[in-house]
């Protein structure tokens, strides 16, 4: 990982098309401005990691559990 130190208003270029600017720093929060072509998706990493982890969890269950899951819907129908 490349580590750079920047001050407010200073920028980083990634390739020719992506520019990141430090907009401001408040306490332990850094506000970043990102200028990139719209084709390049930009996400907070935690969201990406969360989805990856949750997808792995979803691959685990036993086959038997789906019967319990469908009961949720048959109960709903019964109440209506």
């Amino acid at each position: 990982m490349l580590v750079l130190t920047r001050k407010t208003d200073e920028c980083i270029m990634i390739g020719d098309d992506v520019e990141i600017m430090v907009i401001g720093v408040e306490g332990d929060q850094v506000k970043l401005g990102i200028d990139a072509p719209r084709e390049i998706p930009i996400h907070r990493k935690e969201v990406y990691d969360e989805i990856q982890e949750e997808t792995r969890r979803a691959a685990e269950p036993d086959v038997g559990d789906i019967e319990q899951a469908t009961e949720l819907f048959t109960d709903q129908d019964a109440e209506n």
Partner: protein, 162 residues
């Protein structure tokens, strides 16, 4: 063609229905071919089954069952990769996690849905830009909320004047 499936053992699938995920799924980037299978008695749940990996299958559900007003916010690149213009419909499935120790706490991932172009059968797991949604919505709670909301919408009984 015959494939071996996690929920049903050996089954016959229509090769036209095989979905290609060029990027795989998050956490399973090397698995590219899946098919959606299901049984009537398991509705609204279905399975997203890996074609070449019998042990890899996900319980899935349409997000509108969980949230009737579910909004898919596709990023520009996702829309391009999925060839949205060429799609009649985008099929959207959300992965359901059923904790082994506590199945009643099953959750659905509304933030990272699987989106499939129903003409090209190309699929992609995307990050829904709409941050109202999380990776773990309790299915039980969502259904309870829906029931409450539909009760609230019932017109109030007219008071009997006599």
């Amino acid at each position: 063609m015959k494939i071996d499936s996690k929920p049903y053992g050996e089954i016959e699938v229509d090769t036209d229905k095989i979905i290609t995920f060029s990027d795989g799924l998050l956490g399973f980037e090397d698995v590219h071919e899946y098919v959606v299978i299901g049984k009537e008695e398991e509705r609204p749940f279905e399975w997203l089954q890996a074609v070449h990996d019998p042990g890899l299958a996900f319980v899935v559900i349409s997000p509108r069952v969980v949230r009737p007003d579910y909004h898919l916010n596709l990023g520009h690149q996702d829309a391009q990769e999925l060839d949205v213009d060429q799609a009649e419909n985008l099929l959207v499935y959300c992965l359901v996690t059923i904790p082994e120790d506590n199945p009643d706490n099953m959750t659905v991932n509304l933030r990272g849905p699987v989106v499939i172009n129903d003409q090209t059968f190309e699929g992609k797991q995307i990050i829904n830009q709409d941050d109202r949604y999380t990776v773990r919505h309790s299915l039980q709670e969502e259904l309870e909320n829906q029931a409450e909301e539909s009760q609230a919408e019932q017109p109030a009984e007219a008071e009997d004047p006599s």
